[in-house]
């Protein structure tokens, strides 16, 4: 009986200890939750206060009447990004900045990426450019836009995915799917990380509380083209890619067709070549071609590595204008370049998947 009573008292003590531990843990978590929420709120507020001054309301007219959207400055001389739907085909564009309206002119509009660049003649604040490659699923982001006829407003959300395919078609490059509630009028709004750096441009709404944003690198590619050539220059080499039945060297992207009189044909690429790498972009699936293709610039030379049988070849190909671009004169100004294959001596036989 004594043993029994001592063991029962021991169990009671353990039970009391467990209850005390649980109570302490619960009180700790109850204290931590509001604190973390407050911290997050403080960060969002900080981003909004620092960045909102570089976000502007854009008003214009087009064939359908008046329109209103959002844009943001990316350099101190009044250059700003917005959506193509806002500044791409509009006239009489004005930018509301610090309570005043300034006339803006269009520098460039690119239908493929869905953005436009405008210019206002004033000294402006500018948002720092971030790196969307560092984003991961569930990374918190903030958008600042002008919903309806209201003042600038922050929206808080998180990265939900990186999509190339949606709405039954393919985006020209990977897009950021963001779970935040967008409002009408926020087309062209900046998507910011919690450091206050731009990582994307809000372009399309998707269902009720999601939207798609163009990664800022894609927009910067277009801006780079504009700085170099005065216009966006989408590159193209003339190859059509399909999915291979089995991966070769980790890639399923096999060239199905090489179009006649194109840089790909002149370089010596052939149907059946499995594409491994285009420039710096490694290719694993045919969809990877979209990303690589978007960052090609007409006139630039890009190395393309393919697998032909057991041989790995690298072609240096000078990209031509994308067929979707307006007809342009041939690239005569570029120095003549011999598109040639460079056979690589493989130290070992390529790995084959069964």
């Amino acid at each position: 009986m004594r043993r029994l009573s001592s063991s029962s008292s021991g169990q009671g003590f353990r039970l009391l200890a467990k209850l005390a531990f649980l109570a302490a843990a619960a009180s700790l978590s109850a204290q931590q939750t509001p604190e973390s929420a407050t911290s997050l709120s403080r960060e969002v507020k900080d981003v909004f206060e620092r960045c909102a001054k570089a976000v502007v309301k854009i008003e214009a007219t087009d064939q359908h009447g008046e329109l209103s959207g959002t844009g943001f400055f990316v350099d101190p001389t009044g250059t700003l990004y917005t959506a193509y739907s806002v500044g791409g085909e509009a006239e009489n564009v004005t930018v509301e900045f610090k309570g005043k309206k300034y006339p803006a002119r269009q520098l460039m509009a690119d239908l493929r990426s869905g953005i436009a660049m405008l210019k206002v003649d004033l000294a402006s604040p500018a948002l720092p450019i971030g790196n969307s490659d560092q984003l991961e699923i569930a990374t918190p982001v903030v958008a600042i836009g002008y919903p309806l006829d209201l003042a600038e407003s922050p929206s808080f959300g998180m990265i939900a995915g990186f999509d190339r395919k949606c709405f039954g078609g393919y985006f020209p490059t990977k897009h950021l799917r963001v779970n935040l509630p967008p409002q009408r009028g926020e087309g062209g709004a900046p998507l910011l990380n919690l450091k206050g750096e731009v990582v994307g441009i809000l372009l399309y709404t998707f269902e009720n509380n999601s939207c798609y944003a163009l990664p800022i690198e894609a927009a910067e590619k277009i801006r780079s083209d504009f700085v170099r050539f005065g216009e966006p220059r989408h590159g193209w080499i003339g190859a059509n890619v399909a999915e291979a039945s089995a991966p070769v060297e980790g890639s399923r992207a096999v060239t199905k067709e090489i179009m006649k009189d194109t840089p790909a044909a002149e370089s010596g690429m052939k149907p059946g070549d499995v594409v491994l790498q285009i420039g710096r972009t490694k290719v694993h699936e045919p969809e990877d071609i979209l990303d690589a293709s978007f960052f090609l610039t007409a006139g630039d030379v890009v190395p393309i590595t393919v697998m032909r049988g057991s041989e790995k070849l690298t072609f240096s190909v000078q990209a031509d204008f994308h067929p979707a671009s307006q007809p342009r004169p041939p690239l005569l100004a570029a120095p003549p370049l011999s598109n040639r294959a460079i056979p690589l001596n493989l130290q070992s036989a390529p790995e084959r998947s069964p």
Partner: protein, 162 residues
């Protein structure tokens, strides 16, 4: 279709993607439909509405089988003749009397009262529309700007070409 090429159709489709009904359009659709139906009805002269209703009433009893067509035409012509004679024989001083009719004076100090002197019909059953027909035709013309946030991309890639 020959006058349009693919580029024009593509451009037209791209422009048309903006055209979306205003907020609350579908919620108010039935109400708006009935209102416009009433507007359309009121646009016709009163005599035509009466004739239409009389005809509908007559047809509901299938009178065409009871009376012959010439008899009906004759009756209508006789009625029209009698009515027109009455109208042309009306005394001229009536218009003068109407002009000189004393205006109805409502004491400003008193609240409106529901009396026979203040006919209820003109107060309650005044069916004049708050908006005239021209205004009602502009119901869906947007007075506010189009707040842009696309629901579909402005361009697609169709195949894996590069």
């Amino acid at each position: 279709m020959d006058e349009f090429n693919d580029n024009e159709i593509t451009k037209l489709l791209r422009l048309k993607r903006y055209e979306q009904p205003s907020p609350g359009y579908f919620e108010n659709f039935l109400h708006e439909f009935h209102r416009r139906q009433r507007d359309e009805l009121l646009r016709q002269p009163l005599w035509r509405i009466c004739v239409d209703r009389a005809r509908d009433f007559a047809l509901s009893f299938n009178l065409s089988t009871l009376t012959s067509y010439p008899a009906a035409v004759t009756a209508v012509l006789v009625c029209a003749a009698v009515i027109s004679l009455r109208i042309y024989e009306a005394p001229q001083p009536a218009t003068v009397a109407a002009k000189d009719r004393p205006m109805l004076v409502v004491p400003a100090s008193t609240e409106p009262e529901w009396t026979l002197a203040s006919p209820v019909a003109t107060r309650v059953f005044n069916t004049r529309s708050l908006r005239n027909i021209k205004e009602s035709a502009q119901t869906h013309r947007s007075a506010t700007p189009r707040y842009v946030l696309d629901s579909v991309p402005v361009s697609y890639e169709t195949t894996f070409k590069f």
